[in-house]
Structure formats: C-alpha cells, structure tokens
C-alpha cells in the first residue's frame, strides 16, 4: 500500500515538473476544456497535448471523458476518496497486518504443541 502511495506521489510530482502541465492545471481550474482547446491555447500539436494530458491523468490530477469526437478534460479527484478506494485502503492495511499476525500465531501454536506434547490434538 505504501508502494501504491509512493508511486502515486512520484507520478504526481513528475506530472507537475513540467511547465506546460502546470499551465494546463491552471487552465482547467478555471474551466473544463477539450484537448483541442488546450492544444490551441498552449500552441502545441494535438498529439503533444494528448501526451501531457495522459501524464496528468495517470497521476490522477486530471480526468477526461470522451463525448462524440471531443475529449473533455477536467480536474481529477486527486484524493481518490471515493467509497471504494477508501474501503480498499483500510482493507489492504488490515489484511497485510493480519496475514503477518497469522505467522506469529502459527509459531505460538507450534511452540505450545512442543511444550505440551500430551495435549496434541
């Protein structure tokens, strides 16, 4: 899970390390925009802008939706706190924790059996 968060953090920082992408975020903070709009505004090719948007999307900073032939970009829900992600985060932690507890428990069981051979089941 930490790995997940670390890679996400890395992706976010990497996404923000580029001036154009920071500009795109500013722009989307003012209003949603299509990739074509953004390409025009930043004097870029459509392909170049698609790449930048893909990086921002990967980092969860932007989300896109294609309607007809137009892909609209808006600021993403970066905090990932929809219900499913929230539950998953908690389950991942407890699951990892209890799987390690299993190992301690198995060891204690073995020790107990070794100490009390007569009570072996």
């Amino acid at each position: 899970m930490a790995q997940y968060s670390d890679s996400r953090l890395d992706a976010s920082f990497a996404a923000l390390s580029d001036a154009t992408r920071r500009g795109v975020l500013e722009q989307l903070g003012r209003s949603d925009a299509s990739i074509t709009d953004l390409a025009d505004k930043f004097h870029m090719t459509l392909t170049g802008m698609k790449k930048h948007v893909a990086v921002l999307e990967e980092a969860g900073l932007v989300s896109t939706e294609k309607v007809g032939r137009v892909r609209t970009c808006k600021l993403g829900a970066r905090d990932l706190e929809d219900a499913a992600a929230w539950i998953k985060r908690h389950r991942d932690l407890w699951n990892a924790r209890f799987n390690e507890l299993d190992q301690v428990v198995e060891e204690l069981k073995r020790n107990e059996r070794a100490e009390r051979p007569n009570r072996r089941k």
């Binding site: 899970m1 930490a2 920082f13 929230w86 932690l93 209890f98 507890l101 301690v104 428990v105 069981k109």
Partner: protein
C-alpha cells in the same frame, strides 16, 4: 490458504474489520498483548514503514505509545489508553494522537479451535471517519500536504511566481 479480511462501514461513524484465525483466542491475545510479539506484525513489511518504538501496559487503565517512521522520516507517535482489557476476549482503547480520533474495540470469539476477531473503530463523527487514515499510512500526509499546497497554488493561478523548483524533486 489465508483467511479473508472484511472491512465495512457499519454506520456513519463506525468501521468494522473482521478476520478468522485458525487458533484459539488465547493465542491471538498473546500475540496482541506481548509487546515483543506485537512488534512483529502490527506494521506489515509491505508498508515500507518501521516501528521505531513500542511500549504498552495492556490492562484496563494502562496506556500505550508507538512511534512509526516512514523511510527514515521523523517518527509519528500514536498513543492512548486501554479502557478495558479482558484477557482472551476483549480490548478497548482510545487513540489520542488527535482530538477526533476513534475508540477501538477488539473482540475475540472462539469457536471450535478457531477465533473470530472483530475490530471496530467508533469515530466521534461522520466527518472524522471519512477523513480517517490508516494509521501508519498517515506518516505521509506531510508529503501529500506539500503537494496539495502546490496544486492549490497552481489552481489559484498564483503558481508561477511562487513555485519552488526544489519541491518538485523530493
């Protein structure tokens, strides 16, 4: 085959975790209440965190304190008191590292040599549960906080003048 862990929001304020262990309750309680054993599982290795210190006086009225560090960062402390400890069956403790932290209750129910563990976190409000982190994982809000600030600056359109390049390269 590992037993599954289930997590659900039982109400606006309550998170419930359940897990079955293939062992009697006394064994689970032992693994939980002996600090040298507890240290071995509370911080899963997969989280990339270290339990720097752990002290606990596991009895009703006793207290505990643990310090967790993430990749050499300054340790974060988690602490509180045991409101109730009934060996082999029930532990209730407070989490006092912040004012809106939950009360945690763990019950152990043994049946046919297996034990059903139910852990419940009762938060003071819905907002507190919504915001609840996963304990040690919160060792990272500092970093996320920095990023949030950065994003907020960007969105305010004030970014270019105040952007600090080094912040981009953690």
């Amino acid at each position: 085959m590992k037993n599954p862990t289930t997590v659900e929001r039982k109400s606006d304020r309550e998170l419930v975790v359940t897990r079955t262990f293939d062992a009697p309750a006394r064994i689970i309680f032992q693994a939980w209440s002996k600090p040298e054993l507890f240290r071995r599982w509370w911080i899963p290795k997969s989280m990339g965190m270290t339990l720097v210190s752990y002290e606990a006086d596991i009895r009703t009225g006793g207290s505990y304190r643990l310090e967790i560090s993430h990749q050499g960062s300054k340790p974060m402390a988690f602490f509180g008191k045991y409101l109730e400890v009934t060996p082999h069956s029930r532990m209730v403790w407070t989490n006092e590292e912040s004012t809106d932290s939950p009360v945690t209750t763990v019950t152990l129910e043994e049946k046919g040599g297996k034990t059903l563990l139910v852990l419940s976190e009762l938060h003071p409000s819905k907002a507190a549960l919504d915001a609840a982190g996963t304990g040690a994982l919160d060792a990272m809000p500092e970093t996320f906080g920095q990023l949030d600030e950065l994003v907020a600056e960007l969105l305010a359109g004030a970014a270019r003048s105040t952007m600090r390049a080094p912040a981009m390269r953690p």
